[in-house]
Every structure is written in C-alpha cells, then in structure tokens.
Symmetry: C2
Subunit: 402 residues, 2 copies
Amino acid sequence: MKAAIMGYGIVGGGIAKVLTENKSKVKQILGEECELGYILDLRDFPEDPYGDRVVRSLDEILADKEVRVICETMGGLKPAYEYTKRILQQGISVCTSNKELVAAHGAELLTIAKDHNCSYLFEASVGGGIPLLRPFSTTLMHERIDRVTGVLNGTTNYMLSCMQKGDTFDMALTRAQQKGYAEKDPTADIEGHDACRKIAILGSLAGGARVNTDDVQTEGITKLTEQDFEYARCNDYTIKLVAEAKLEGGAVGAVVAPFLVPMSHALASVNGVFNACIVHGNMLGDVMFYGQGAGRDATASAVVSDMIDALLHDGEHVFVNLSAVPALRMDDLQMTHRFFVRVDESEKAKAVKTFGEDISFVEARGVFGEWAFITAPMSEADFAAALKSLDEVRGYLRVLEA
Amino acid sequence: MKAAIMGYGIVGGGIAKVLTENKSKVKQILGEECELGYILDLRDFPEDPYGDRVVRSLDEILADKEVRVICETMGGLKPAYEYTKRILQQGISVCTSNKELVAAHGAELLTIAKDHNCSYLFEASVGGGIPLLRPFSTTLMHERIDRVTGVLNGTTNYMLSCMQKGDTFDMALTRAQQKGYAEKDPTADIEGHDACRKIAILGSLAGGARVNTDDVQTEGITKLTEQDFEYARCNDYTIKLVAEAKLEGGAVGAVVAPFLVPMSHALASVNGVFNACIVHGNMLGDVMFYGQGAGRDATASAVVSDMIDALLHDGEHVFVNLSAVPALRMDDLQMTHRFFVRVDESEKAKAVKTFGEDISFVEARGVFGEWAFITAPMSEADFAAALKSLDEVRGYLRVLEA
C-alpha cells in the first residue's frame, strides 16, 4: 500500500515526519508498511529525505494502482477541489486538513467518496490534533447535541492572550507574526473566517445537516481596543474569539465573534495557541476537548490517523455524519445573548430607555467619558435594532454565559 | 435486535432512560429499533416503565436468540465476571461501566469476545460520559503515548474542592455523602482504589500491555489536613488526587496519590465532580478530555454508545487495544517527582542534610512549629529511603510539574 501527499508545506512535511518517526507503530496497526510513494508539489526539495518522490502531476500518482490514500494539504479551493474529486472518483481515499474545502464542499465530496467505496476524512481540519470530529460520527451520534462552543483559532487566541496582558492589537499581531503563528496576510484569522469555517463543520456534524459558512454570523477581532480589555480585567472577564453553534429542532444558529468570557468559565483558561471545544448533549451534559489547535506535528498526526482509518477500510466508505441536506438557519430571534455595550457619556439616558432598566453598568480603571453596561439576554435581532437607535456606540461584545 | 441490562441500579436505570429519550436517534443509526427486552435484577420495579421486563436468571435472557447485546452494570467481580464470560462465550456482546472487572479481567474477557466474534466494550468504565477510551484504540493508536495524567475520581475531587475552600476532611465527606457523590462506605473512593483501577485501564490502553492494579502505587486522601491546604493556598497550588501513568520503552510506572497542583496547571481548574485526563503523545503533544466523570445519564450515554458500536458490528469483534501481555513495571528509580514535605521544626537540620541544599522552603499562614519544603526532582525509591531517615514527618505530597 502506498500513500501520497499533495502540497508539501508545513502540514504535508509533518505527515512525512509522523510516518517516519512512528513507522513501526503504523505498520503494527496496518499489518504492512505504508510507503510514502509520491509528493505532489511544484517546488523541489533536494535536501528532504523524500525529495526523490516529488512529482509535478496528479496523473503520475493516479497511474500507480498501489496508491490507496492521498493526503490533501494544499489548502484553498483551487485546485484542491478538482483534484480531490478526481481522486475519489477513482476509489482512492483522501484525508485532509483543508477546512476551507471541507466547509465549502465537504458534503458533496463525501457523497462522491461513498459512491466510489472510498473515504473522505478531515479530522485535522478542526482543532489540529485534538480528536474532536470523529466522536460526532461515532460515540456521540446517539446524543441530541444542542450546543457546540469553542475557541477554535489559535492565532487570534494567542493575540488576545497578549492583549489581555496589555499589548495593543498591532503589537499582538506583530508578535504573532514573529512567532510564526500569524501569516503575512492575517485576514482569514483576524476577521474570523477560519473560525467560521470550523464552526460550520462542527455545526454540520453535530446536527447532521449542512451549515453554510454564509449562515454563520461572523465578526473578527480587529475592532477590539485596550479599553475593552480594561473593562474585562476590571470585571473578572477575559475576551476570546468564541465560535458557537446552537441546535434546536433541526435549526442551527451559529456565530463567531469576540465574547466577554467570565474568568470562571472553562474557555477562559484556554490561552495562547491552544484550542478547546465544549460539546453539550442531552444525556451527556458538557464534554470539553482541549489541545494544541495547530502545530505541524499535532495536525499531521490527525491526518495520519485518518490515513490509517481509510487504509484499514480500503474498498469501503468510512461513515462521516455530514449531510448534504442544508440545515435550517435558526431565527435570529431565537439566538439570544447578553451584550456588553460602550456608548458615549451623552447617550446614557437614551441607552437606559432603549435597553430597559435591567441593564447593569460596568466600569473600568482609567476609562472616562463613556458609559458601559451589560444588557439582559436579548435576541440578535432585537440587539441589532436597539443599536441602531443609538448614535455614539464605541463598541460592543457578546457575553458568554457561565 | 434486543438488548438486556444486568443490574438495574443507577447506571442501569440511566441506560433505559437514554434508550427511551433518544430512541429515534438510536433507530436512525442502527436502521432498526433496539428493544430493551430484559432486565436482570433480584428486585422488582413495579413503578418502572420497564418493570415487566425484569427476570431473575441469566438463562432466561440467553434463551432469547434475538438478544445481541447485554449491558453489565452490576459492579463488582461476583457474579459479573462469570456472567460476562458466559454471555461472551455465546457470541453476545457485553458493554459495561464496571471498572473493577475491566481492571481485573478485561484482557481475558476481550480474548473470549474475540474468539466468539463479539465485543467487550467499556467506555463508561473511566471518565463517565467523556469519550476518552475509544481514541486509544482508534485515532491515537499510531502515537507513542508517554504520559497519561488525570483527575479520575469525582467523589474525592468534590471533597478536595470543599477542603480547598476550608472544609475539614470529615465535613467534606459528610457533604459528599449528603449530595449522593460518596457512598456510605467511601473506602474505594477515598483510599484511591477507584482511581487506581481507572489508571490501570488507561495505562493498559495507552501502552498496549496490561497494567495490574497491584503495580499502581496507590495512596488515598485520608491523611490530608487543613494545614496541607493552607500551604497549597499560600503558595499558589491546589491539591488533587492525581492518577498518572508514565510509559517508556515498554515499561509503565503508575501512581495514584494526592498531588500539589500548580494553579496554572490545566488540572487545577477541574473542580467538583468533574474529571479530566491529559494524554501526551510523541507527535500530538498534550490533549485534554474533560467532563462529568460520573452522573447517571452521562455514564449511561457512554454505555449506549458502546451498545450501538457492538450492534453495528454484530457478528464481528470490535478491536480494543488492551493486551493480555503484562506490561513491565517501570523501575521506581525512573519515576521521579518533586515532593512537598512537612517535618517538625526540630528536624530542619536533618532535612537539609538528607534532601540537599536545593530544597525550597515554603510557608503557610498560621502554621507554626514545623518546617515545610519542596525537594528537587527525585525518584520514588530515593524519596522513600530519605523519608526513613527523618523521625518527625508530618506529611508529604508529590508535586505535579507545570
């Protein structure tokens, strides 16, 4: 049995490393060796121990009938989508860390895999090495999952951890880029697109119906200021980019946004590049998965675990609970949160009138000339309407319930 | 397809509840209904919706060839061990929450199951509803796992949480009994036997070789005093009953004991009846699983997930990575920790002489007449020897590394 890797970047290189370092373990499980036969990349890797396996064209790989599984670690939609389709149509399994492709076309690719008796697996697409996705299609399938809440983006979480300690947004971003946690163009992370794709995948698996990324209300962390963190610190909160999916009666409501998180909440202590995800089932209650959400070796290890699963079931389709049927979008009226709002001092009377008497005012050291308060629980729709009636809103955040 | 429950106590009742509440979900997965055909118990349950299914003898259940899976929630070794053997020998799968039986005879029962093309599954035996065991036989199997560290006993963790807030041991135990978290005879929990069984199971799964409960160095929480907690509070620690298995070169070293846990450690914030387990793999790094470690519904949900797995693979054996081959016991010289030690004031000079200059003294508010210190990392063997040279030891705890 041979394997191939498409896209020999960070994760692709990690897969080669895991297959090498844990070769005897993998052999023990499969009963035979899993040889890395081909690497598809446009670059050459003369120094790499697998440098002699580099090819330029997918056809070369597909011509070798011993290849039974291919790892797609190219990222992006093009040409990963077309390539994956072609591979699956030949009955060869694909394992990937490409959350963008899974979020956009995962259900379709799974159908193709099923029709061709092979597998499309993507454990590494969410939460890096944390074994988080598999349980939704196995151990947790009989649960009615009504909520999935996570810190799913390591880059922004590292930045927010820095900001909590006093960094400005720009300082935190520079630091993250220096450490290699943030890309040169950090848009996908800081605008919440990465977390949006991940919660779309998790929401889809949890409910068994496809959640579109367009249906996830997505806000990034770029508007956060030092004042927001001062309020958080003074009131026993921290700020996290939270991804949340609520499921009820076949409908899914999903949001990615910076939240005030009470320090007593399990997600508050998820710092740096770590990820965590809390799953709530009707019988199970809360279960949390926690670990490094990125990192070459951990992510590669998850891809390798998928490769082994695909190879152990070569000629069959490994079931994944991701349906092509679109999920209903939960009415914004059903999506409720408490909101933390900062307005200009002059807006106080109007704010009280708009949000009612049961708002609670909050203060921060050294922040003057404005009023800040936390609302009673209200729907996204009502909050959006209320916000429009105020002129001088300095910022707002959702509040995660303890 | 029919199922049966042996032992209709807390967990057994929970299984009936989960099968009822999530009936349509279970049917959707199995493609047919899973009818609860029999309940084996010596008591009658006239008020129970399943009261008419109660039988007195296993033979009655085995006579019905439609029964394909039986849940063993009797607990203890007798008659659970004999019953489980008889059932498996007939090719009927058994799912259990009985950690005592799994720790004592799990590998043997798995071999019988394999020989008779059925399954013996025990996800619920460790960590209640947390999907913690399955990954060791699937997603994590290619990892070299070198450490498993957990808070695995909810009863003692609840008590220690109370003691951290100021309760005495006796107050905490009474409170735990009132809440139904501790049994009338709390020995198995407070002496660490329950956690010992669980780490024996986890250590066995992690290394693929059988860890005996006798090979787990086990200390309970009965010797802990208010002074210990005062030291913990004053030095940014908490105290947890930690279960730890270290794996190296085929050898396993396991310990269950109260540890000083730095407040910054992920296990420090595992409070009340919650459980958590950190698994460290060579490629994966640290992954943590967290959730309610007990509780009727969550534990029952884990048994039901095993039932579904067994039924989906009826006529086959679901692989579990628990070998009958005994694990080597790690030399006590290889098991190293830092130790927190309290001695009578008069022993100070001797303590310094015995433990060397690189011990660090620690203080606690309101604790007088004694000296307390934390040692450099040292082996269990060396520590035991050093301890013998002191006359007035008031207590000691291991220290969990950050």
